[in-house]
């Protein structure tokens, strides 16, 4: 089964193609703050490189985030409409899970970390490697990087674009052996995880597919707080 995976959550456009276990492409294109301008052209570039027309793609994988809010809206919209227009299945893949999948062979626990963009706040997820993909342990974590250290219970690998910056902050408190793997979101990892679900006959409803923001917009936070105060 040939799966195209995209992830635009991390200020790059990641595009990958897998055929079962085989990675045919795992490309990173620069996007800065604007995934929109290039993403469809990037997909075309990758498909041409591997010599596959879009019609040969059996299904799509989309990185849902968390990450750049604008970025994940672009990726999810492109992914859902690619699937809808071509009548092919799509699977949404949390970007934290795709990051963990990229580093699953490295340690008994994998801690995926994505910067929120405010101080040392992070979005994070703790995963254990499984025979088929990775399994998330507990809830997603959103907060200061140091608070994450209490959740790590086994030697772990910290994975994410800024893993090398975060690992020294986690290390003393966790008391565990930690290793850092600095990696950007991977289109191939997203495609692989989508492919695993597609092979089981699972997929997501394309039209209702939504980004995984993990944070409410600031306006909604204020309104909710105001309502609480007003009782």
């Amino acid at each position: 089964m040939i799966v195209l995976g995209i992830d635009t959550s991390g200020y790059v456009n990641a595009v990958g193609v897998v055929d079962g276990d085989r990675v045919l492409a795992d490309d990173i294109f620069p996007a800065q703050t604007d995934s929109l301008e290039q993403i469809v052209a990037n997909i075309d570039t990758t498909l041409k490189k591997v010599g596959l027309p879009l019609a040969r793609i059996d299904g799509f994988g989309v990185g849902l985030g968390p990450g750049s809010w604008t970025g994940i809206r672009v990726g999810v919209t492109v992914g859902k409409i690619l699937a809808f227009s071509s009548k092919k299945p799509v699977c949404g893949v949390p970007t934290l899970e795709a990051l963990a999948y990229s580093a699953r062979g490295e340690a008994p626990q994998v801690c995926s970390v994505i910067a929120v963009g405010v101080g040392d706040a992070v979005y994070a997820g703790l995963y254990s490697p499984e025979r088929d993909g990775v399994k998330r342990l507990g809830d997603y974590y959103i907060g200061d990087i140091k608070g994450l250290s209490t959740l790590i219970t086994k030697p772990a690998v910290v994975v994410g674009a800024e893993a090398k910056k975060y690992t020294p902050l986690l290390w003393p408190a966790s008391g565990m052996a930690l290793k850092a793997v600095a990696t950007l979101p991977s289109g191939a990892a997203v495609a692989s995880l989508a492919g695993i679900r597609l092979a089981r006959g699972e997929s997501d409803d394309a039209l209702s597919l939504a980004p995984l923001y993990l944070k409410e917009s600031t306006a909604r936070v204020f309104v909710n707080r105001y309502k609480k105060e007003q009782g």
Binding site: D34, A41, V74, I81, L82, S85
Partner: protein, 337 residues
């Protein structure tokens, strides 16, 4: 040519199928009125999130209502400028994906060019050249239109758009959002001559507008009484305010038509749904021997059919956007995609 239009520049998620830039086969619109009421206006991040959730459903509804498949669509037109940047991106991302999968020509459309084109859908024989007044909560322009897709901007608002003034006065009076339809309805029970409000710039030579001072005049006149908790003559205030706005819009537009030597006026945009504006335009134009055209009410506010019509007119002239089409939150009218 069957064109799929997509519009997400502000708070409406919309998709439409239009044949040959003239015949509306479907026009699906999902408004965010619930969110507008909750937050008292458009919150860009919340609107962009809603667009992402709805865009696929709205496109499917446009296809289903028209009883067409994506395979029948021959081109995609999408609002790419101006608007809320995060909102515009959702529509453009969807349009690009369809264009890529179905190998269809793509065109980015200026939102106001869409509004100007709304009358092409309601009046197949809309003559050119004409003078177009296009007014909503976000824009307020007077244009000379020699041919489809060609414009000369005669004037625009220097501050608030007329629709924005309606919203702000309605908010001050404690009325619902959006203010346009509420004030229109309330005014029918009011006396338009009850209060004398200014007609800003009505006598100036320029075709520019200014409605911020008029709004302030209404506020200043009644804020003390409102603060004392007095009941205000709402219908009379609404009717008098509306009359002032309408006076300015009609006078400037009729004068522009006379100066440009054209006998056709096209009025579009959300404010063109206002019943008093339509009545007064019809009376004034009749006196001057000018024909005036208004779009169907469903085509006054934001919709994707007008985007498909505007996109078609551009494509007929050979224009195309490529897959690198981007969005521009601020963009002058008349530029290329």
């Amino acid at each position: 040519m069957l064109v799929l239009g997509i519009e997400t520049s502000c708070d409406e998620t919309a998709a439409a199928l239009v044949a040959d830039g003239r015949t509306v086969l479907s026009s699906a619109i999902s408004t965010q009125l619930d969110l507008l009421k909750k937050y008292g206006g458009v919150v860009p991040e919340i609107a962009a999130r809603r667009h992402t959730e709805l865009i696929g459903y709205v496109i499917r509804e446009a296809l289903d209502t028209a009883a067409r498949q994506l395979d029948n669509v021959e081109a995609v037109a999408v609002t790419s400028r101006p608007g809320l940047v995060g909102c515009l991106m959702v529509g453009v991302a969807a349009a690009k994906a369809i264009s890529y999968v179905k190998d269809l020509p793509l065109i980015g459309v200026h939102h106001i060019e869409g509004h100007i084109s709304a009358n092409l859908l309601s009046h197949a024989g809309l003559p050119f050249p004409h003078v177009c007044l296009t007014v909503s909560g976000g824009h307020n322009m007077l244009l000379y239109v020699p041919a489809p897709g060609k414009y000369e901007v005669l004037g625009a608002t220097l501050d608030d758009a007329a629709g924005e003034a309606f919203d702000k006065v309605a908010k001050f009076l404690g009325l619902d959002f959006p203010g346009g339809p509420v004030i229109d309805k309330l005014s029918r029970q009011g006396n338009p001559k009850a209060f004398k409000f200014p007609r800003p710039m009505i006598g100036t030579k320029s075709f520019d507008f200014s409605f911020s001072g008029l709004k302030t005049a209404v506020v200043n006149r009644f804020k003390d009484r409102l603060a004392r908790g007095e009941a205000l003559p709402l219908a009379d205030i609404a009717a008098s305010f509306q009359e002032a706005v309408v006076d300015v819009l009609v006078a400037k537009t009729v004068r522009a038509a006379t100066e440009k030597g054209v006998a056709v006026v096209s009025v579009t945009g959300g404010v063109s749904a206002n019943s008093r504006l339509r009545q007064r335009f019809s009376e004034a134009c009749k006196k001057q021997g000018i024909r005036v055209f208004f779009p169907a009410l469903s085509l006054c506010t934001d919709n994707a059919a007008m985007i498909a019509a505007a996109g078609y007119a551009r494509m007929v002239q050979g224009e195309r956007s490529d897959l690198r089409l981007n969005v521009f939150p601020n963009a002058p009218l008349g530029g290329r995609a």
